[in-house]
Symmetry: C2
Subunit: 452 residues, 2 copies
């Protein structure tokens, strides 16, 4: 029984990113200035981002050309393989056809370099010499560090403290690429000092780390800020995943009935799903598209769709998104990349439009699914990706119960080689599920601007 | 500046392994029975290995067909990419053309699955339900565990204690695949108990772990032994690497002047080098072929070419090889896969024939080279592979000094995502070089059968 691989030749790397904003039945709500509450213009974002990325953020063009130097770097690992998981299908004894797009073949081991390389390139083009960012589990920080090494730029990473301490090895990778890593909250910024004053033992959160990184960028002229998810231009860069998958499904003479990806900030989800969602919105195909989030941080399934800040210190603009409140600090689940209080505005908008579904998975179910996948397919998924795997297995078993042969594809957004402690803890029975912390979330939501 | 990728379509996975024994100007010296000192026959090996592998061990056929179920599994990650390291060339400002064959794309992250899958298949074919093996850094153990999961077999791994303790994450991977892991020396075997009686704090060695695994296989009828390097059939299975590289060089319209790989037991070296060595011995091409070993365990460069045991307890047959003595326990360098007292008989024979060269590299130089490579090419190499990288950089700088443009290829045998502690220790200045422990080696060599 063989895992089938659908490879594209490298001249089939997409030449343009797909911009879902062109196909939306109504536009995504505007981004608001944190001070005035009015829609922001490009100049408001200029302290943080190079103009090329700001223009992508608001573009309505359906396709945006990928610069040749970015495609040159992509070429090292793209097009990534699309696999048909025949051994997993056999293990589940399901009539479903299970496919996975594998982004773990990038040098950093995840999908994050797709946008890291693009962001480093555009910043370099506009004369920026240093990028500052935040990272949770470290997938994003290591990817941006790598991209900065390629383009000869400096890189500073604020790393959520719980990951900094529990997952030193992605920190090691970031440092191996020559970047500097600071645990967040840190005494280096006003935002960090404020948190530490109130919570000296804070384990940190993406929201806090974003505040610190934004503050550093806003106060240093040679430094811009770089974000690994959430924003429109970041999701845009990830669409190479789904565009390749569309071509690979044509090779396979198949088309997915269900597209699945985990969702923290939304970038790997958008990367696979948006090209399929575009075809759906254009009436060219009908596909269920499912975002899977952790039950411990259930943004799409239990959050509120409202204007909120992207960070804890309220330095960022406000976006309309599904949110648990910008002061909510999620439990320390191992899927650090999914511990974010908010969600990409474009993903939230699609959910609001009824174009996609969302579901939540508990940590233990996610790891059980990941182990089953590893024994069938060999690849051990990142804990984030395990959430998608759990949903895929549930759908495949539903197909078996119903006796239907549906085609399912998911984004295997990264490998778990940096996350073995989590797997060891799971196998030793040391992990627990976290219930939806209703009270904390309610309190955080009560603080939403314009809410209650 | 772009890293160039030379990909083969999957129908170009080799259909047969290349057997270098067919092209040797004189045959490799025979394997001797540990009791009688006489050449062994197939039946002597039958308690340890399935007959198909024993026949491959002594075959003189130039090509041995790869069974379809093995090729089906290979198809998931093979053919692996051959890259031209253009960014590294630019960083070194060298006229050399540097290529690397990247085996880290396998699900286990190294070249080891090439033979693990084949060995699991042949054992399964002959009705074996359980395999036992040893592992150093864990690349081999995790690969065999994965292969056993694919073929529905049990797997037991004796892991060198220093790696078991210092590198728990490859152990975690082995366990994730469903195999059991025992630190070696262990109280489970006579061999282990004997070592522990003399050295209760023994950090172990591959030689000890082999003794334990062989003992378990020899005393259990349903269990066979599996070795991840050294033996002829293991090296044979790895030749898919070099055969693909030959085709990829044709695509690149180039041919290597120098072929480089690190050498511990010899399997990744043989995998890349043997097809090139075959062409060299057949007079079809002239190529320097360089095996790179750690200065702390300098088997080829400082050992004796003599009959010796493969293990510490002298349970294995004797083979003629470069050896530091079967009781030599190498210093605890981070390149655990290179900590072996001996060398594959075929690699030793080629060195004796003058067909290949050998050189030794210190640990600190190897890590410095690995970091330089990571910042140029994104991929962080396994500490073993860093030894090859160090030699490649030295050759590329020689080319620069001499003003010659040579073509260099090396085997990037695995990624270093499980080895970040070593990189962090290196960057923190905590690692040291180990001098050639002359006295210990001399004592171990003095114990060689038929020596002094």
């Amino acid at each position: 029984m063989s895992t089938i691989k659908y490879l594209l030749p490298e001249d089939r790397i997409p030449t343009a990113w797909y911009n879902i904003q062109a196909d939306l039945p109504r536009p995504v709500p505007p981004t608001l200035h944190p001070g005035t509450g009015q829609p922001i213009g490009p100049d408001d974002l200029a302290p943080l981002f190079p103009m090329a990325l700001i223009m992508q953020e608001v573009s309505a063009e359906q396709y945006i050309e990928i610069p040749a130097p970015v495609r040159d770097v992509y070429r090292q690992w793209r097009p990534t393989p699309l696999f048909r998981a025949r051994r997993l299908e056999a293990m589940l004894d399901t009539p479903a056809r299970i496919y996975y797009k594998y982004e773990g073949v990038s040098p950093a081991g995840s999908h994050k370099p797709n946008t890291a390389v693009a962001q480093a390139f555009y910043n370099k083009e506009e004369g920026i010499t240093k990028l500052v960012t935040e990272t949770g589990a470290g997938q994003w920080g290591s990817s941006l560090a790598m991209a900065c090494a390629f383009f000869g730029m400096e890189c500073k990473v604020f790393m959520v403290r719980v990951s900094y301490e529990q997952k030193p090895y992605r920190r090691g990778l970031i440092e191996a690429y020559g970047a500097s890593v600071t645990p967040s909250p840190s005494p280096e910024t006003n935002a960090g000092r404020a948190i530490l004053a109130e919570h000296p033992d804070s384990t940190g959160s993406l929201g806090i780390a974003i505040s610190e990184a934004v503050e550093v960028a806003a106060t240093h002229a040679d430094t811009k800020y770089s974000l690994g998810s959430v924003l429109n231009h970041v999701l845009l860069h990830q669409t190479v995943i789904g565009q390749e998958a569309l071509e690979q499904f044509a090779l396979a003479d198949d088309y997915p009935d269900i597209v699945i990806a985990c969702a923290g900030g939304g970038s790997n989800f958008a990367g696979l799903a948006f090209p399929f969602a575009g075809k759906k919105m254009r009436g060219e195909a009908d596909t269920r598209i499912v975002a899977v989030e952790p039950a411990a941080c259930p943004t799409l399934t239990r959050g509120q769709y409202a204007y909120d800040f992207g960070d804890t210190a309220h330095l960022t603009p406000m976006v309309k998104m599904h949110t648990l409140g910008s002061t909510f600090i999620p439990p320390s689940i191992h899927a650090g990349g999914l511990r974010y209080h908010g969600m990409a505005p474009l993903v939230s908008h699609l959910l609001d439009l009824g174009q996609i579904e969302a579901t939540a998975v508990h940590q233990l179910d996610a790891f059980a699914a990941g182990l089953q996948f590893a024994r069938a397919e060999g690849i051990i998924p990142a804990p984030e990706s395990n959430h998608a795997v759990a949903q895929v297995i549930a759908e495949a078993l539903r197909c078996k119960a119903e006796g239907v042969s549906q085609s399912i594809v998911f984004n295997l957004s990264g490998h778990g080689h940096f996350d073995m402690q989590a797997y060891m803890d799971y196998q030793a029975g040391k992990l627990q599920d976290y219930d939806y912390p209703a009270e904390e979330i309610t309190m955080a939501l009560a603080g939403l601007p314009g809410v209650g």
